[in-house]
Structure formats: structure tokens, C-alpha cells
């Protein structure tokens, strides 16, 4: 008999039919009787004091029901407890072009829009800071009066072991600088929310959010109403990628307007506003110095990152630490130093995008490794493959590694792509590049400190055989609701048609922290198994009574409970349910999951730990036209270690989507600014790959079950993005011999580098250096005892 009935099957998602018939209710599809429509007024300056806002004319416009400004929403909040610098609408100052400063509720969108034009704002322009350099060279008023100093939001410095000794023992040391441009999530669904405040003083907010719990907490704070009177329902999300993880001004404004008017208020952002809402990939400037021995083993690494944070803290403190955290989980590093700095700038706030803070350093690390391999005459495969982290070990910065199938990932990708036969052997213009990556299966710590479970699942059995499952998780398209159904059905041994799901509703469902950090399958899956196992125990006991057999002789599968040695002796699932209900009363069980305590004994250790890491290896083959600089990606091979594929069809989908998104970042996506304004706040100007630019992707799923994961599963949603940009950069070098140490790799940059090469100069385009910043004295950390050691020569 197969090990599982449902786990491992390429099944359609439980909500697939709703999605293909247009029946899935997204936030903007909702409407309520007497609903009003809200619109936001965005700030016209990148940095300006709001001296006066006159809303008289707007309020007087027929059809306008309410107008609010920052004065109505004075409470500061922020997703990270130590970074409280946002308000629902800007109060004292506007901090970027598009920063919401007022909101109107009217009988229709058109009237609301007309009212916006009637709001008069008196600005006092302040000096604007549009880049890391400008922010550091702060002459006038800083953007916030919070943060570490001036425009510096966060400065960190950590040292693990003895990098000095490591560098001195190296045979070869090099340092490089890299830049990774910011880009945005570009979900096809524009953010939308519907707020309803009822006569009993209860507020309900339907919103396209990935994190209903965090919205619950923060909205209650921003509005000053207790969480017990606020209900958040996360509607199915039409693409998230990290962009719908925060509480946003439009959600607060809609809720406030609903409270003031007593009528339901809906708000849907325009596409331009989605660009301003952002919370996307941080632009990061990087400097990395690495020491290696002749055999390519790393003796020490020093990494500096400079993050351009945009106008608010948001997740920025976590993002900053993430740019230094996961360098150590792929190859053995015995000594490591990390300096990180995040500045505020007058641009839309950055935050978490798929890979949160880790694709930028991964790009730098993997490209530098390619350079090191060449300098030492090693193959890019061997330099990686020979120095992988050990399974069941720790890293120098106290991250616990459980399973790691990166060896197998590399072997499979190298073989499938023919890397060894192609690398440095293809005709001029053609090239192949290789890179690896790793990502968390859920953050080991929550965003705000607490020792509560990260997720809980409740199951209620109906005497008709129905299995009602409740969980606060929000499906953003990755299929987490389906995973919930699969795990429960597998454990209880029933078909998926028995399962009814209620999700993402803070009134009805037990908590889940949200769809971020690739945590849901791993954490919710474990909670679901725990809840289902409790009920299964009761059902087996009941069936044992009925069959007069010991519990140990029974199994639950295929909608019945039967004797393993004689399948004819069985009871149908619903009869076992009825018997168990007669014995115990209502059949309801809870399961919860709290990650093991994984943080190391130092400040800053909260970012990076995860109960398990996924691994991926990727090869990219390109064709570069030396005349035009154009890069055509011929094919991408990717192998991803996800522990176990709960549903291989969905895992493949996550891998392909991640590869596509990584490729978009690597080739074209760019959140850039001109004359203090967003250069491309439209889908036409912000280039993203269409079917024509997206190549064939060969996906290899590597399964090595992780003992901590549900059925052995680890993540698949974010990790596969990471190796794509560096593999592409390495492929471009293989094709035409130029180094583009900067993302995106555009035709202009390739042409510029080729030109430099023709002139006999260094054939490289990338940042020239890093700002002159004195980092604080690092916090010194004794390496974990299970970490790789610096071997004496």
C-alpha cells in the first residue's frame, strides 16, 4: 500500500473551481447596502510639513459624506514594536510623493475623486533625501525624529568568532561591491478593504491582507478600540509576495470613515497608489570581503549592507538583520562579521518582498564565489559542493541546520543542465551560470515578542461525517488552505469531500500569524496534524470498541476504520464519529505549533532562526547579443529541497513563480525615481516579464523529509527566487566576459561593460564604493559549539 493517500498527490487545489469560475470573492468584489466609496489624497512633495489642510469645500460637495485628515488619526503604530513611526494619514509631514494625507468617503468613487481636488493643502517644502548617500549627508531636518541617529533608522554590527584570524589564514582574499536595485511586488490585485462599523460598536474589516492577526493588533491600536471589538477577515489575496503584510493607511482610513459615517466604506487603491504603498524589495548596496583557502573553503567573511529604507520603519529592522543572517546556512563559514545600516529616504517605504532581505546578499555572495572560483581555477560546482554545511549542525551565527539536500540539488541541476559540459565552453555570446540559495521555513520568532503559539488549528467532527476545520491562516494563492485540508484528511483517513474550511477570520478562527516568512505549511501543518491526531485517537478507540479489537490493530483510511490484518472488519468513519460522540460529547480538538527555542544568546539573534531551511540550486543559460546587450534567457533549471512535497503540483507552481519573479528582478524590474518622483508607477512603465520573456523552467523537486516538518515538508514559496539573479549574472559573464555587479542586469549595463572591455579597462559595471560610515563596535559572539571550525593549516 502507498504510504499516503493524499500527501504527495498532484491534486487540484480545494478552491480551484471557485478560482476558474470567477466565484472567489476578492476584497473589491464585496459590497454592502448603503456602502460608501473612499479615496485617498496623496502628498505632492517628497518631504514637506503640512501646515494647513482645508477640507471645507470638499466636505460641502454634494455626495461627500465625510472627510478626514491626519488630525483624525494621530496614533503612531508600526509592525515592529521598536519602530513606531506611522500614522493612518500623515499628520505633521508628508514623507514621500503619494503619502496619504487625507481621505474622503462619498456615494461613489467619482464624487470622492472630485472632492480630493477640492482639498487645499498648504505645504512647507523640506529638504528631500532620495538616496542612501543623500540620507547620510543630512543637512536639514531628518525624515523622522526616531531611529538610531538623524536619517539612520538602524545600525547593527555583529562579529562571530575571529574573522581577523580567518582572513590571515586565507590563501586568497578579495572584496567586492554590489548593488541590488529595489523593486516591487506588483500583485495583479490592487489592495482593497471594506470596513463596517455596526450599531453595537463593533468593527469588521475585510481586507486583502496576508496577515490578519497583525492587522487586528495594529488597527486596534491605531483606532484606539479594543481588539475584542475588532474583527478582521482576510479575503482571498490576489497576489501578495510580501506586499500585503503590513497595516496600511487605506485600511485605517476606511475603518475610521465607517466609524464616523455609520455606513460601510470600501476602498480600492489605484495601481499608482499600489506603487506608493510598496513595502517592496529594499535597494541594498553591499560590500563583501571573503577569505578562502586554495581548495575554496571559506576562512572568514565580512559583509556590509546599506539599505535604502524609504519613508518608514515598517519591517525594516528585520530586513536589516536579514541582509546579514542567512549567508552562513549554505557553505561552511567559521568566522563572520556583519555590519548593517538602514536609512530613511523620501520614497515609498520598503519592506518584505519574497525572500525578505536575503536575495540581495545572496546575489553578492554567489557572484563573488564565481569570481573566487575563477581566480583559484576551481569549477563553480566544486567550490560550492565541497564546502556545504553539514546536516544537523549549527552555523557560526547560531542558526540550527537540520536537513540539507543542497548536495543533491547541485548534482541534479548540474546534470540536467549539462553545466560541466557547457561552462566556459559555449560559443561567444552564449553562457551558463550557477548559484545556490536557502530560505527559512518560517521565522522562528514572532514579530512582537511573546511566547504564545504561532498557529493553531481547530477541528470539529459532525455526526454526519463532516470535518470542519478552522485556522486563521490567509491563502494568498500559494494553496495554504488546500494544505490544511490535505493534512487533516490524510490523518483522519477521509476524502477531501468531507472537509469544510473556515479560514482567516479573527472572530471565528484560532490564530495564525500570517502568510509571511514561508511559515504556513510548516507551522500550520504541524498544528493540523496535532489536532487531527487527537480526534483520530478518539475515533480509533470508538472503533476498537465496536469491532472488539485493540486500538493498535486499526488504521483509518479511505473513509473507514479497519483492522490492518483483515480489512473486512471495519466501521465507516461516520459511525466511529457517532460512537465517539456518544462516549465523549462534542468532538472538537485543537492543535498548536510553537517553534523550538532557536535564538542564540545575543541581541539580534531573533532574525534568522527557523525550524528548518530549504535549499535550492539553479542554472541559467543565456544568449547575450554583444551588439545590443540584450539578454535572452534560454532555459532555467532549478532543484529545490522542500523536504517533502505535500502536493507536487503546488510545489512546482511555487518554484516556477519564484524563479519567474527572481528573473524579473534580475533582468528588468526597477522601482526607481527621477526628480524626486517615482519614475514608473504604472504597469506599462514598470517592466515585468510577460509570457514572451519567461523561459522554460525545468523544476526538480528534491525530497529529503525533515523531522520537524509536517510529513517532512519544508518551504517552497520563497527560496527558489534566491539563486536566480546571481546565476543569471554568472551566465552573462560566461557568455561575454563582463561582470554586472548590479541588479537589474539591463542591456545598457551590458553594453557599457563591453565598451569598457574594448577600451582595455575592467569589464565591470557596478557600484564604485560604499559610503564612509563608522559602524559601532561590534557585538562579539562566541560561535556556536556545533559550528564549522577554522582548521589550523
Amino acid at each position: 500500500m502507498e504510504e499516503f493517500d493524499i500527501i504527495g498527490q498532484p491534486l487540484p487545489k480545494v478552491d480551484a473551481v471557485n478560482k476558474v469560475t470567477g466565484a472567489t470573492p476578492f476584497a473589491d468584489d464585496l459590497s454592502l447596502p448603503r456602502m460608501l466609496y473612499a479615496k485617498l489624497l496623496g502628498c505632492h512633495h517628497p518631504h514637506a510639513r503640512l501646515k494647513a489642510i482645508d477640507t471645507t469645500q470638499a466636505t460641502a460637495l454634494p455626495g461627500v459624506v465625510a472627510v478626514i485628515t491626519g488630525a483624525d488619526l494621530p496614533v503612531k503604530y508600526g509592525i515592529i514594536p521598536s519602530s513606531q513611526d506611522e500614522t493612518g494619514l500623515a499628520g505633521d509631514k508628508g514623507r514621500f510623493v503619494g503619502d496619504p494625507i487625507a481621505a474622503v468617503a462619498a456615494v461613489d468613487e467619482e464624487t470622492a475623486e472630485r472632492a480630493l481636488e477640492l482639498i487645499q493643502v498648504e505645504y512647507e517644502a523640506l529638504p528631500a533625501y532620495l538616496s542612501i548617500e543623500e540620507a547620510l549627508d543630512q543637512k536639514g531636518e531628518p525624515i523622522h525624529d526616531s531611529g538610531d541617529q538623524g536619517n539612520i533608522h538602524k545600525l547593527v554590527s555583529l562579529e562571530y568568532g575571529d574573522p581577523q584570524a580567518g582572513f590571515s589564514q586565507a590563501d586568497y582574499v578579495r572584496d567586492d561591491t554590489f548593488f541590488y536595485q529595489g523593486n516591487t511586488h506588483l500583485p495583479i490585485e490592487q489592495h482593497a478593504a471594506l470596513a463596517h462599523y455596526t450599531a453595537d460598536s463593533r468593527l469588521t474589516l475585510w481586507s486583502s491582507t496576508q496577515t490578519p492577526h497583525y492587522v487586528h493588533r495594529l488597527l486596534s491600536k491605531a483606532l484606539g478600540i479594543p481588539m475584542s471589538r475588532v474583527r478582521i477577515i482576510a479575503t482571498p489575496v490576489g497576489g501578495g509576495f510580501g506586499g500585503k503584510c503590513d497595516l496600511f493607511g487605506h485600511e485605517i482610513a476606511a475603518a475610521k470613515l465607517a466609524m464616523i459615517t455609520g455606513r460601510p466604506v470600501k476602498i480600492t487603491l489605484t495601481r499608482e497608489e499600489v506603487f506608493y504603498t510598496h513595502r517592496g524589495r529594499h535597494p541594498v548596496l553591499m560590500w563583501v570581503k571573503t577569505g578562502v583557502r586554495q581548495d575554496g573553503s571559506i576562512t572568514a567573511m565580512h559583509f556590509k549592507t546599506f539599505l535604502d529604507g524609504g519613508a518608514h520603519g515598517s519591517y525594516g529592522i528585520a530586513s536589516t538583520y536579514y541582509t546579514g543572517a542567512l549567508q552562513t546556512v549554505t557553505y561552511k563559514i567559521p568566522a563572520y562579521k556583519f555590519d548593517g545600516l538602514r536609512v530613511f529616504t523620501n520614497k515609498p517605504p520598503c519592506g518584505p518582498k519574497r525572500g525578505h532581505g536575503t536575495p540581495q546578499p545572496r546575489f553578492a555572495l554567489e557572484v563573488q564565489l564565481d569570481k573566487i572560483a575563477e581566480a583559484l581555477g576551481l569549477s563553480p560546482v566544486d567550490i560550492r559542493r565541497r564546502h556545504l554545511v553539514e546536516e544537523n549542525s549549527h552555523t557560526v551565527n547560531h542558526l540550527r541546520i537540520t536537513t540539507c539536500a543542497l548536495d543533491e540539488c547541485l548534482d541534479k541541476v548540474v546534470k540536467a543542465s549539462g553545466f560541466r559540459e557547457k561552462h566556459r565552453q559555449l560559443a561567444y555570446g552564449r553562457g551558463i551560470g550557477l548559484a545556490c540559495g536557502s530560505y527559512l521555513s518560517g521565522a522562528g520568532l514572532p514579530i512582537y515578542w511573546n511566547d504564545l503559539p504561532h498557529t493553531s488549528v481547530q477541528i470539529k467532527l459532525d455526526r454526519g461525517g463532516g470535518v470542519a476545520v478552522y485556522c486563521g491562516q490567509a491563502d494568498i494563492g500559494q494553496g495554504s488552505t488546500s494544505v490544511l485540508a490535505y493534512t487533516v484528511a490524510e490523518v483522519l483517513g477521509v476524502g477531501l469531500d468531507h472537509i469544510q474550511l473556515t479560514v482567516a477570520d479573527t472572530d471565528l478562527t484560532p490564530i495564525d500569524l500570517g502568510s509571511y516568512s514561508s511559515r504556513v505549511t510548516f507551522m500550520m501543518g504541524n498544528a493540523a496534524i496535532q489536532a487531527a491526531e487527537k480526534l483520530k485517537a478518539l475515533l480509533l478507540e470508538a472503533a476498537a470498541d465496536m469491532l472488539e479489537l485493540p486500538v493498535g490493530a486499526l488504521a483509518a483510511r479511505g473513509g473507514r476504520i479497519f483492522c490492518v490484518d483483515d480489512e473486512r472488519r471495519s466501521v465507516p468513519f461516520e459511525q466511529a464519529v457517532q460512537r465517539a460522540e456518544a462516549q465523549h460529547g462534542a468532538l472538537v480538538a485543537m492543535g498548536s505549533y510553537t517553534p523550538p527555542k532557536l535564538a542564540g544568546p545575543f541581541k539580534g539573534s531573533g532574525v534568522g532562526p527557523s525550524p528548518a531551511y530549504s535549499y535550492s540550486a539553479c542554472a541559467v543559460e543565456v544568449n547575450v547579443d554583444p551588439q545590443t546587450g540584450e539578454i535572452k534567457v534560454e532555459k532555467i533549471w532549478i532543484a529545490h529541497d522542500c523536504g517533502r512535497a505535500i502536493n507536487p503540483l503546488l510545489v512546482e507552481g511555487q518554484i516556477e513563480g519564484g524563479v519567474y519573479m527572481g528573473l524579473g528582478e534580475a533582468l528588468m524590474e526597477e522601482q526607481s525615481f527621477r526628480r524626486q518622483q517615482h519614475k514608473s508607477p504604472s504597469m506599462l512603465d514598470y517592466k515585468s516579464p510577460t509570457t514572451l520573456e519567461t523561459p522554460e523552467i525545468e523544476t526538480l523537486i528534491i525530497e529529503r523529509p525533515d523531522p520537524g516538518g509536517p510529513f517532512g515538508a519544508k518551504e517552497a514559496g520563497q527560496g527558489p527566487l534566491l539563486p536566480v539573479p546571481p546565476a543569471l549574472a554568472n551566465a552573462v559573464y560566461d557568455a561575454v566576459g563582463v561582470r554586472i555587479d548590479e541588479i537589474p542586469i539591463t542591456p545598457e549595463k551590458v553594453l557599457k561593460a563591453l565598451d569598457l572591455k574594448r577600451q582595455g579597462k575592467a569589464a565591470r559595471v557596478g557600484p564604485k564604493g560604499i559610503p564612509n560610515v563608522t559602524f559601532p563596535k561590534p557585538v562579539w559572539v562566541e560561535p556556536h559549539s556545533g559550528a564549522p571550525k577554522l582548521e589550523a593549516e
Partner: protein
Amino acid sequence: MKQLITLNVNNETIEVYTAIHKTLLEVLREDLQLTGTKHGCELGECGACTVLVDGEPVLSCLALPIELEGQAILTVEGLAVDGELHPLQQAFADNGAAQCGYCTPGILLTAKALLDHHPHPSRDEIRQALAGNLCRCTGYAKILDAIEAVRVP
């Protein structure tokens, strides 16, 4: 200014009294409560709002209903017939071609128009036909697979 317009949507003749400058997208979603048609930009840039008019893909965010009287408008709600999914819908479900599902209605209709005119397109021809429909979730791979599963070989 409002006017009474007669539209043929999903084989149903519907009279709607609406502002004449409203787009087809708005009339479908707001006046007719046919919210299956989505929007990602309302500027003709993403393809999410695609519907078929007399069998041809049209961006409903740029179309005016007043100009479409007498023409057959097909939205995602009209694809399944008598409770039977259209083969493309079934293939999208079976192949995992809808992740968040937000781009799906527009892509289904674009694909239907392609296959109606051209029952055996190559993978590259499918790519060409879908070049105006953005999807951020799938990397397009499973969408192409699903359409290939339905084309006449």
C-alpha cells in the same frame, strides 16, 4: 448622464440604466454584479479585465458598453455551460494554473479566443496570444501547460 442600455451578456439580454461614461468593467462589476471580471490597472495595461466581445478579446476597462449594444459579451461567469466547466476551466484547475486566481478570468477568455480561432497552437503561439495578460504568481508555466492540455493536437 444616465441612459438605458441593452446588453447581451453571457447569452442573457439585460437592460441596465447607467451612466454612459462608465466602462464595461464598471458596468459588469457594479451594475450587473458580475464580479468575476477583475482589474489590475484600469488603464489597459494588465489584461486582467479581458472579456470576449463577439468572440474577440477586449479589455473591458477601456470599452464603453454603449458601443457594445447588440454584440455578444462573454465573461468568465458564462464559460461554464449547464454546470459543466469549460475544458479550459477544468484544465486550469487540474494543472494548477490558477494560484491566486486573480489573473485567471482574463487569461481564460484570451485562451478561449485563441483556441476558437486556432485549435492547435504551438507553445510559442500560446505565448504570443497571452503576451498582454500579466500573471505574477505562476511564471506562466502551468498556464501554458493547461492550454496545451486543451488544444487539439
